[in-house]
Symmetry: C2
Subunit: 298 residues, 2 copies
Amino acid sequence: MTLHVVVLGAAAGGGLPQWNCGCSNCNDARTGRLRPRSQSSIAVSSDRQNWVILNASPDLRDQLARTPALHPTGPRQMPLASVVLTNGDIDHVAGLLCLRERQAFALYATSAIHDILSRNPVFDVLDATLVPRVPVAGGVPFAPAPGLSATLIPVPGKVPLYLERGAVETALIGEQTVGVLVEAGGKRLYYIPGCAMMTDDLRARLQGADLVLFDGTLWSDDEMIRAGLGQKTGRRMGHMPISGPDGTLAAFDGIDVGRKVFVHLNNTNPVWRDDGPERAEVEAAGWIVGDDGTEITL
Amino acid sequence: MTLHVVVLGAAAGGGLPQWNCGCSNCNDARTGRLRPRSQSSIAVSSDRQNWVILNASPDLRDQLARTPALHPTGPRQMPLASVVLTNGDIDHVAGLLCLRERQAFALYATSAIHDILSRNPVFDVLDATLVPRVPVAGGVPFAPAPGLSATLIPVPGKVPLYLERGAVETALIGEQTVGVLVEAGGKRLYYIPGCAMMTDDLRARLQGADLVLFDGTLWSDDEMIRAGLGQKTGRRMGHMPISGPDGTLAAFDGIDVGRKVFVHLNNTNPVWRDDGPERAEVEAAGWIVGDDGTEITL
């Protein structure tokens, strides 16, 4: 029994290019000087026959079309066992609307995320008799596909943007934002595309993992503000930065992990550039910058 | 003053390939033997500076990225004046979720369609202070962009799949399904991506139009059933077929239209094949099979 991972999309919400963004990364992605990247989703399997999609990105139709392992195996047969959601953000739930057309799979998420879906009738396009919505509590293992075990791990985060009202707690630990531990054949991977800060609990859990795919949204906390593209820090958006004393590179110092991959990278992130100093710094710290189509077998 | 049209996506809901479909068209689109097509949307402009998107398809991010006329003109400036919706189907509204990131534009639709959006908080990701939702009554002209006039035209159709309850009236004429008349500099185009049947009223309106982009979902009414891919006829889905005595080719007989283009074509439609007899029949009747990127200037 092995554990296979395919990064379907390595970018954060908006993708690269983001539709309305004229930053140098986005402009270069439109003209082919930088490879375009699609929004945040991975697929995992233990047998390459039954797959689990972790987060349903708005780009999912295209992502599936270019991933042969996830092509139909008959007129209306898909090698898809289930979808698991880590929060209610648009970049992680909008792709559910692509998964219509009377296809059976299970949908796993916390009760809080299922409640968000239930309050939006548009998601009823997934027929409940074919797509059961299974609430899962944090810390309780479940089987998202044959041969796989998964466990939702609450991590610091916030409610989705479209549900923000008044003052927003940006590092809430509960059912709004989770990571996922996936296990097969003694191998352990963590998928954590959104995390507002490192905690002692999370540090202890990650210790000794074979693979961690982690929130790489921004290089620096004020990246969007300095570029004149927004008024929010990364932390206000519920994401810790890669660099700096409180950043992810520093936070992983002393955590023993087999492989570390950044996912959920914002279009403004300088690590997208193969030849930049930020990419060099990330790689020197033992990290891989995730890409659309990155495959890892444990 | 001229009238420019770009077909952003020529396929119906699901696109070509549709994620879970193993029909020969979809399989060929995955392997490159048939060109992939994205979901239903067009853009119109009178000056190439201010564009209107008619229907926001789930593929909109990608569609915009490959349409230079709709690229950002600054760090956060888009040449987009407004979006107009013709119904509440997923293939026409899901793309609104791509249009987030604090971009200003107006959103025009009937009150019935706005009500559907209002009942789904997920669409609140479009900040109402930046994206005003403007209700428009059928038959009343409005200005979706400088130099353009638009009028919603009720056509026979049904409520979106995700709102179907019990017996469904499939050729309702009201606010659920509309076509759009767009006018500039004396030129008239009709965009009607969904139409359950031809009526005398519609026939009279189309008479003398410079361009009609019309519902080409299915070639034959029982196409999905015969292919073993579904249990519904085209009419049950709210679409008249192209062929047959009650089909679109026959219905347009005697209507004098400058150019006729099929859009909203289902993945199963045999007219996607350049060399097939159905394509030849359609073209002999004076129709163009719309494609992603088709541009027409009137």
